[in-house]
């Protein structure tokens, strides 16, 4: 994997050039945000639910080793095989070995961000395993060889015509279809035989209950249930932070998850897996992949509370106008910008800047992660670690010097005003001034604030200040 920093700004520029896609993307995500608000207003206990969810998650994270052991004990008692993976490589190896032991060549799977983290599909392809995504949006992304652009609606950046083109190639449907119903039906018809002949099924896990050894999967299409109940081998890949202590805690999280995500009261399917089905075999792979290390980061450990609802993405003005793919990472949007740098600080060093710091992400987060504060804190860390673009760093360096010396600062302001009104555009707008790329520089003013103050207020202010000095 290349460590070259992701050029989010350039990718976003590219996204913005396409007006119909940009407009749909922006409006669709804002619509999800508004539906979420409508759900919130129905429930007077909304803020209490968020507080509960946050406290339960923080408690669980502070006792994660104990709860993981409790889950493992209970799951094993119910006949689940429990595996542990330090990173993506180890995870992929474990999954590959389970499949090999069953001579399984065809794997159907529902959406799982952890398997994206592990880059599992290419690994299994090399082992001769055909992996078929069963979630419609994820399948579209798989066929188009792209990462999911959103953690809940993976193909949200595409229009119907884009999907028609992709399906025409792989499902031999009419490329001119413009009715989403026909395309969804094409997916159903194409997926059924694959599901019926699959050797193994794979799901993620939205929640893990320590008390009972259960994992809970939430979908709308029912594709996780098909993936888990048709083949007799079920493998679930789950991040170690997904625990809750008690089954009764699920009430809080299920009430928040889909309302925050899509603005629907609950996902159409909420499935509780506690053991293998009759004649079946069930495996759970618990994946760390940087989570234990993140737990030790004082400013960033609460990002592990995330339940992957995507509300912070839907509300973010930068995300809505740049698209998930512009982040060049498995996780995009505000939550992505605070967890991606923990995977690779250099590669994702630009992402914490993809924010206006307006705080909207923090306000909608169902588990009360202080996302915008963490974005700001990441910028500080990255500067300390010198992961800052050269021009930005030099400008900040110069600005720091300038602002530390009032006389020089005032002289510079005056000089700027003169140059803004006299210099040609090519001098003012170039690569040394990234700020001016999509913005006009401010209009030059005739008088600086300091000049105005000296002329109008300084003499008047002096007598008022005099009694102070007597004390």
């Amino acid at each position: 994997m290349s460590d070259k920093p992701v050029n989010h700004a350039r990718a976003a520029e590219h996204f913005i050039e396409d007006a119909p896609h940009l407009q749909f993307h922006d409006e669709r995500l804002w619509d999800m945000r508004q539906k979420r608000d409508a759900q919130m207003h129905i429930l007077p206990e909304w803020q209490e639910l968020r507080e509960e969810a946050s406290r339960i998650k923080e408690h669980t994270l502070s006792r994660l080793p104990e709860y993981l052991e409790q889950f493992e004990t209970n799951a094993k008692k119910n006949g689940i095989h429990v595996h542990w993976a330090r990173d993506g490589t180890e995870h992929n190896r474990i999954v590959g070995e389970i499949l090999k032991a069953h001579n399984a060549r065809n794997l159907i799977k529902s959406k799982s961000m952890v398997t994206e983290e592990c880059d599992m599909r290419p690994y299994l392809a090399k082992q001769g395993v055909t992996v078929t995504e069963t979630d419609l949006g994820e399948r579209i992304q798989q066929l188009d060889d792209q990462l999911p652009s959103h953690i809940v609606v993976p193909a949200v950046h595409k229009l119907t015509a884009d999907v028609a083109k992709i399906f025409a190639k792989d499902y031999h449907t009419d490329p001119n279809i413009r009715d989403p119903h026909l395309l969804a039906e094409a997916q159903r018809q194409a997926a059924r035989p694959v599901i019926l002949h699959a050797d193994a099924g794979m799901t993620g896990g939205n929640f893990v209950v320590a008390e009972t050894g259960t994992f809970v999967v939430c979908t709308n299409e029912g594709n996780a249930d098909l993936s888990a109940t048709v083949p007799n081998l079920h493998i679930a890949t789950i991040g170690i932070e997904r625990l809750v202590p008690r089954m009764a805690d699920m009430g809080v999280f299920i009430r928040l998850l889909s309302r925050s995500a899509l603005g629907s009261p609950i996902t159409q399917y909420t499935t509780h897996f506690r053991g293998p089905q009759k004649g079946g075999e069930m495996h759970v792979v618990l994946v760390d992949n940087g989570r234990a290390a993140r737990l030790g980061m004082e400013d960033f450990w609460t990002s592990l509370k995330c339940i992957r609802c995507g509300a912070c993405m839907n509300t973010c003005p930068v995300y809505r106008r740049s698209g998930g793919l512009s982040y060049g990472a498995v996780y995009s949007g505000p939550i992505g910008a605070i967890i991606d740098p923990t995977f690779n600080e250099r590669k994702y060093s630009t992402l914490p800047y993809a924010s206006t710091l307006n705080g909207s992400c923090t306000n909608v987060c169902p588990v009360k992660i202080n996302i915008h504060e963490q974005l700001y804190k990441w910028r500080r860390v990255l500067v300390q670690h010198h992961e800052m673009p050269f021009v930005k760093r030099e400008i900040m360096h110069m600005a720091g010097k300038l602002m530390g010396q009032p006389k020089m600062y005032r002289a510079a302001i005056k000089a700027t005003e003169v140059s803004l009104s006299t210099m040609p555009r090519f001098v003012l707008y170039n690569w040394l001034n990234p700020w001016g790329k999509h913005r006009e520089n401010p209009h030059p003013v005739k008088q600086t604030f300091n000049d105005w103050y000296r002329k109008n207020r300084e003499t008047a202010a002096k007598p008022a200040a005099a009694p102070e000095t007597k004390k």
Binding site: S62, L159, A184, E221
Partner: protein
């Protein structure tokens, strides 16, 4: 050599925030505690499900045919409906794929969400709930619980079933240009018959 399990647990122990600062909050029961049939039906319709209302003198089999006139393979796992395909014929998970209408009984429903619960105790085989084109669910009106808090606290099935699914209306997707489509990969429709 230490195992992945040991290493992960050890790192978590070393890195975690002080447990004493984060006590476990007591179990919460919040919000509307109305467990009425009316609330259940309103919620069910929001999620795209519907109620199969009996017409006087009609049997459940007749009502199912009225709702699904083209159905040929009707497979019932309840004594209240005969169906056309004996449930004994569904032996492997794949056997359920030819079914047009599946008939089952849910042990309980959740008024807040219009959800019905199914587990291996109500199904000849777990895929039975998903591979059929449509599903008709029998539900006793006195087996409704108010909301998600009461459901998880009161219903023992969550702690005993190996496979337990809450279905809230039929399968759905909005993955293509945000258009809501009922009947994505699982059942195309879900109807509740109160008994």
């Amino acid at each position: 050599m230490s195992t992945a399990r040991d290493e992960i647990l050890q790192a978590l122990r070393a890195n975690r925030p002080t447990p004493e600062n984060h006590p476990l909050p007591p179990v919460a029961t919040l919000g509307d505690l109305d467990a009425s049939r009316e609330r259940f039906i309103t919620s069910l319709r929001i999620l795209g499900g519907d109620v199969l209302e009996p017409v006087e003198g009609e049997t459940l089999d007749q009502a199912i045919l009225r709702r699904h006139p083209d159905a040929r393979m009707i497979c019932s796992n309840v004594p209240e409906a005969k169906g056309t395909l004996p449930v004994e014929k569904v032996k492997t998970p794949q056997d359920a794929a030819t079914i047009d209408v599946t008939v089952v009984r849910a042990p309980f429903g959740i008024a807040e969400m219009g959800s019905i619960f199914l587990s291996e105790a109500q199904l000849p085989i777990n895929s039975f709930a998903h591979l059929g084109q449509h599903i008709v669910v029998l539900l006793a009106a006195d087996q409704l619980t108010a909301n998600m808090h009461t459901a998880y606290q009161e219903r023992p099935e969550f702690k005993t079933a190996n496979y337990g699914v809450l279905m809230s209306g039929p399968s759905a997707t909005a993955d293509i240009q945000g258009v809501l489509i009922r009947g994505a990969q699982g059942v195309r429709s879900l109807s509740v018959w109160f008994t």
